[in-house]
Amino acid sequence: MKRVELIDLSKSYDKQIDVISGINVTIEPGEFFVLVGPSGCGKSTMLRMIAGLEEITSGTLKIGDKVANGLPPNKRELSMVFQNYALYPHLTVQQNIAFGLDVKKVKKPVQQKRAEDVAEMLGLTEFLQRKPRELSGGQRQRVALARAIVSESPICLMDEPLSNLDAKLRAHMRMEIRRIQRTLGITMIYVTHDQVEAMTMGDRIMILHEGKIQQVGKPIDIYNNPANPFVATFIGSPPMNLASAKNDSVSSTLLIGDTWHLALPANENYSHPSSELIAGIRPEHLRPATKDTPEADKFYVEVTNVEVLGNETVFSFELGGNEWMAKWSGQWHIDSGDRIPILIDTGSLCIFEADTGELIKKPTDLGNFVFGKEVLL
Amino acid sequence: ACTNSDSNTNDEKSNEDKPGTDETAGKVSIEFWHAMSGTGQESLDAIVEGFNESQDKYEVKAEFQGTYEESLTKLRSVGGTKDAPAITQVFEVGTKYMIDSGYIEPVQSFIDKDNFDLSTLEQNILNYYKVDGELYSMPFNSSTPVMIYNKTAFEKAGLDPEKAPETFSEVIATAEKLKTDDMFGFSMLTYGWFFEQLVATQGGLYVNEDNGRSGDATEALFNGPEGLNVFNFLDTMNKAGTFGNFGTNWDDIRAAFASQKVAMYMDSSAGVAGAIANAPFDVGVAYIPYADEVQRNGVVIGGASLWMSKGIAENEQEAAWEFMKYMTTPEVQAKWHLDTGYFAINPKAYDEENVKEKWAEFPQFKVTVEQLQDTVPGIATQGALISVFPESRQQIVTALEDLYQGADPQEVLDQAAEGTNRAMEIANKTKK
């Protein structure tokens, strides 16, 4: 239950290039804060700075209102799951888990009890007496997780803690972590690459790109209103489709990827009519045209690739030099080369300014459903 | 000598350095192994250079081979092979071993052939090295023990600095007077050599069979009354607290003297020069003490002599002989004497100008020579001949150390004798 505040934080390994720069963010006590970003953008570095493992090149780090820049890690009262586990190779699983408790002079029986409970929860019970090298990858990762969970520190840092687990176990762990975090009121900073984790676990997400903050906010807000094209393509899978666009204010149409003319509602008008724009639309908003669709609204696309994922089908086509993807529920029998009519709804369109990347039109129709409006109770 | 050194990479080097192959200069080149280090080596190198320049037939290469013990070990390993040097310096207690080894050519044969006049050499020294009337090796660096004392301390204690104590009881009494809080009265290096000397000066024998000169010794005699006298002498002072124990290291005892931790001590004549140079006070040198109830016999010669190898080329032996002769010349001996404090084996050296000058400056030097020349010839002062001498000395060191720790003098002496007896027994048993 501690606030973590990052003020103008920067980090450079080689004193030349900042791998992280000018980070300003406050993580509230008890918040579940998710950190995402492409590989190598500085997520682990940031966690390690918060943990006190990496020197802060400039800026201020506050933990629970106190400046913590120089504080040694053991004074910070936090726990951490390392991306590479960092298990003690000479200790058994049991000892690995209980290590932190032993440090804090928790009594042996209590240690054992707590270690066993956590092991039980993570399905590690039968491995308690093994050494890490005799475990599978996922088992090792769970030990690392157990070690952090068992300590119940007020701040917990997790660096991709579920990456080596299967979907089922991962779903289970997601829930457990969330439950524990809530019950104990832990302030959690959580790095992940998993879209589902990012969307469902965090109170807020922060998207990092090349060491700079792109956007911070509630997951769904970020999904709906990405601050820039980077965020738009980073959150959501398959990513939002982007193409350059031009606003033809005369005909009140939007020219997308040099091919599609999309009529805009009368009231929509973009301040800089001449400027280059980027139009974006999420794959699930590219819907199949039905019999009732007026021919004028249909866009025909030539399918280049199809993936049937079981409960949904993703197919790609080309638009203005970009690969676009559409995602439809169910298993569709589409083949590469098919020409398919699709529908675009201006309401679900995002528009960014090309130079600055600024979002100038949020999507309004997000396929939001509310019982009572769409379905009858 | 190195005809069979086949194609190894070191061919050139070995040709250059090995004896007898210096074809280019047309010289006969021989090796001379010695154990002289420090200033001794410096002086020796100069002498060897002098020899090499004095003529153009022979070339001697002086090579250091470690301490007396180490070089003897090495000689034992290469003795009789092509790796053996033409000349080796061996300490006096190795004499018996060398004679028995069969590796050496007695110098007597050259003396006879060359009609070399031995009488030019110091008789007392020859005495030691002559066995059954034959000279096996050419004496070279010879020393004797002396007692060195601090004249200034004598004065302070109200004693006559020109009159050193002569007998054991005098030494004991003087030591008593000299003893202060910071200074012991007397000390002696824990080294068998000094014990041998103190026994010999009483006319005591070290081993039976006439000190090993009339046959292989089988029994130690040094635990007899003479030996006991010595141990009692040391024990009395040690118990009275007037004896300073400075161990087995030459430097320690000398430093103790120089830094006025001890007023009188026994040293080698070769140490006199250093003692005078390092001491910030007046230094006196005296004969070694003897037991009150006997006559003074004098000292046994110490140091080392030069041995010639057998089985090497004739011209190499000749070279070795020439070199040995050169070493006995008064000029060389004078230089050697002055540089190191060892005796001149050729007494004519003392007539050299530079020696006289030095003696005038440091009359103490003379004392060492006089003591040697005053020595009464006899079996006792001729010194013992046993092949296991180093081991026996070790036994004495242990006995002395035990004595200083308060053990009974007779008991420790008997133990040492027993050890020596066993060593001799094994040596005799295994003798070829």
Partner: protein, 272 residues
Amino acid sequence: MTISLPKKIWIYFLLTVTSLLVFFPVLYAFMISFMTGPEILQGKFFPQSFSLDNYFKVFDRLPLVKYLVNSFVVSVGVMFGQLLVCSLAAYAFVFMPFKGRDFIFFVFISTMMIPWEATMIPNFFTIQKLDWLNTYQGLTIPFFALAFGTFLLRQHFKTIPKELHEASQIAGLSRFAFFWRVILPVSKTSLVTLGAYGFLTTWNMYLWPLLITTNSSVRTVQIGLKQLQSQEMSTDWGVVMAGVIVVIIPTLLLLFLGQKQLQKGLSQGALK
């Protein structure tokens, strides 16, 4: 990782005090090397003047440069010989399972227990028979096989993640290539340690070089050091200490350079 200031001060304090203690004897020897005989006997710590007389004397008395060169050649020779022979053996012990491996390893180890003094004389005869007296090979080759070195490297090889071996096998690396291209570079720390050990022990050897050299052609510097001390003549301590300083400077330099090689964690980053 960050270290707090008080802790830093405390560590520096300990470092300074202990290194002074450790280094005192050397420092003292250094001081003595500038003193004259009487000064030394008076037990001073600082010389009256830093005159280089003793050093001149040392170089004057002995072919010290030649000795230094010989020592260097011999030490470097032994160092590389040991590194090669020991690492080959250690590699076999760690990465090639075969029957009786532990036993053979123990036989190797047991050679450490044989006092060198006990084997010296027979070895001398061997060298003599090989006609290696007064040669560099006589001074070096008997020391190439070193149980200690094999042991040291084995201990280190055992800590190398086995995944590296596996990855290399899959890459199609032959045994020797794996040894040469992966194991040796990854074990740099230990190789440097062993190298330093081999160099220094050889540099410091006295009895053996004395025994198998009879002239100064391949003699090493420690014999020179011994030549400076004389038994019965008063040792000229100033000169001896000057010799000591001359002899230890190259090795200290080597240590200084070597310690840079003891960098952190050469196997780090191998695994996830």
